[in-house]
């Protein structure tokens, strides 16, 4: 067959089915495992950050404790923000999944839908693991009275003393983790889809909207209302709000990846 100019139109006829119909979700487990290959990115790095940040925080606590004089265990409790450190590591890891693992998944001929399901499940697993680690760490701090120094990184009263206790705090940590990973993934996949210029236009657009929103709240004296709303929330209700946000972001990411190209 020769079509020297390639101009001849031809109607494409469907052929005989080549093999039995396979499930559209048959490769989802492989797509999940793809996220953990290599395991160091999604497991090793955040786990190291988790323990390193905790260790450093406890080290600083011990230093302060000794400065105040040893043997004094009745001092005021101290709280740190080191629990959030692994979350920021996971934001970057999630972005790498969009910028590097997604192009590789295309070479392995995954559909974007299968890849995205793999991402959601893998991020979900990591978030649940983070939530479990949070619960375990908060429990250790609780039973040891903050290592005998009243020094807390995970057992934070606002999170762990509501209904549901430290389990609710763990659930909140897990959903927050999932939301942040979805956000990290979003910016990287948006860059692949739309390019640097559009990415900045969207970032600036969001900044303008955020600024306008803040100004409107100021104008209408809305801050006390918002602050009150936040204080009324429990770890469980915040978990619910974040879960809704995570689902929304997952949908948004799928919308973006549907037309993203690997290069």
């Amino acid at each position: 067959m020769t079509t020297p100019t390639g101009r001849t139109d031809r109607t494409l006829q469907p052929q005989e089915p080549h093999r039995g119909k396979r499930s559209a979700f048959a490769r989802v487990p492989s797509a999940v495992r793809l996220q953990f290959s290599p395991a160091v990115t999604l497991i090793g790095v955040p786990l190291s950050v988790f323990f390193a940040a905790w260790l450093i925080a406890v080290g600083i606590g011990w230093w302060i404790h000794t400065m105040q004089g040893s043997g004094d265990s009745s001092g005021e409790p101290m709280f740190t923000g080191a629990a959030q450190a692994p979350l920021w590591a996971l934001v970057f890891v999630a972005a790498y999944s969009a910028s590097h693992t997604f192009p590789f998944s295309m070479a392995l001929s995954y559909s974007r839908r299968t890849f995205m399901l793999g991402v959601i499940l893998a991020f979900g697993l990591v978030s649940v693991a983070f939530g479990a680690a949070f619960i375990l760490a908060a429990w250790i701090e609780r039973v040891t009275d903050g290592f005998g120094m009243h020094f807390y990184t995970f057992n934070l009263p606002y999170l762990t003393q509501g209904s549901g206790g430290i389990v609710a705090a763990g659930a909140l940590a897990a959903t927050l983790c999932l939301v942040l990973m979805m956000v990290g993934f979003f910016w990287a996949i948006l860059y692949l889809r739309a390019g640097l210029f559009t990415l900045w236009v969207i970032i600036l657009g969001l900044a303008v909207v955020g600024l306008a929103g803040t100004m409107l709240i100021f104008q209408n004296d809305g801050w006390p209302v918002i602050w009150e709303w936040i204080m009324q929330q429990s770890a469980l209700s915040l978990t619910g709000w974040l879960a809704i946000l995570a689902v929304g972001l997952a949908g948004l990411n799928y919308g973006v990846i549907r037309r993203a190209t690997p290069a």
Binding site: M1, P4, T5, G6, P17, V40, S109
Partner: protein, 312 residues
Amino acid sequence: MSVNTAPAAIEVAGLSRRYRNTTALDGVTVRFAKDQIHGLLGRNGAGKTTLMSIIAAQDWPTEGQVRVLGHTPHENEQVLPMMCFVREDQRYPDDAQAKHAFKAASLAYENWDWKFANRLIRDFRVPEKTKVKKMSRGQKSAVAVIIGLAARAEVTFFDEPYMGLDAVARQLFYDRLLEDYSEHPRTVVLSSHLIDEIAHLIENVVLIDSGRVLLDEPVEDLRDRAVTLVGRSDAVAEVTAGREVLNQESMGRITRTTVLGRLSEQEHQRVRDLDLDLQPVSLQQLIVRLTTRQSAARDLNDSNHGHGEGEK
């Protein structure tokens, strides 16, 4: 020219892909017969990678249709697992070593053959402990080639697989591809501009230039389209008189001329009488000449019909 009657693995009809300022593909209609090795040839920027990307559903067309094994490939898990297209500039997970890439490929492709993969890893001397992103160009190409071969996907694309590979590794790739293809026939599309190097591998040539198909023909037919004669200048001139000359080189009284068209039985007799040598035509040379000729004719045609502007 004969018609390739084998069933099609890939059918592309009226395919165009336009970006903001460029037209990467322009009304491409072509079919790739099943269980054959096809050479997708063309100059840099001709549209080879774009065409393979769209067929493999990594990209999508502005216009036109693609069918792979009878299915539309975009987001279609029925047909996607039967295709493998590792890009020439493929990106891998950030910390991935070659073993991670192979493991992931083995999970994605049900026909993956670890025995074959391990043999190729040894053959190509792929370092096991080096991250893929730290590898040399040749080592990266080797990783891509190994995934493409060991996946044994029904439709496999190799995107300029020789990039960075040394002569030994290139030969190794060609040998292993042919060996494995003969045991496990499948549809292979090999993009390249090293035409003569892959000439012995490919059964069919698809040549694209500026996003259009210039040529789609079995290699055997293509070779029959021209003939090279070597011998005394006057004798060569006598036989080639009146034919379109594709190439001519003279050294003293000896001339080497490539002309279009087959020789008749009488002309063959005359070649023997005049003691001329008949040599196989270099596919590369033939394609370069045909490309130049057809591009020129097309450009002329375009400018005559006023279609030339706005395309590039």
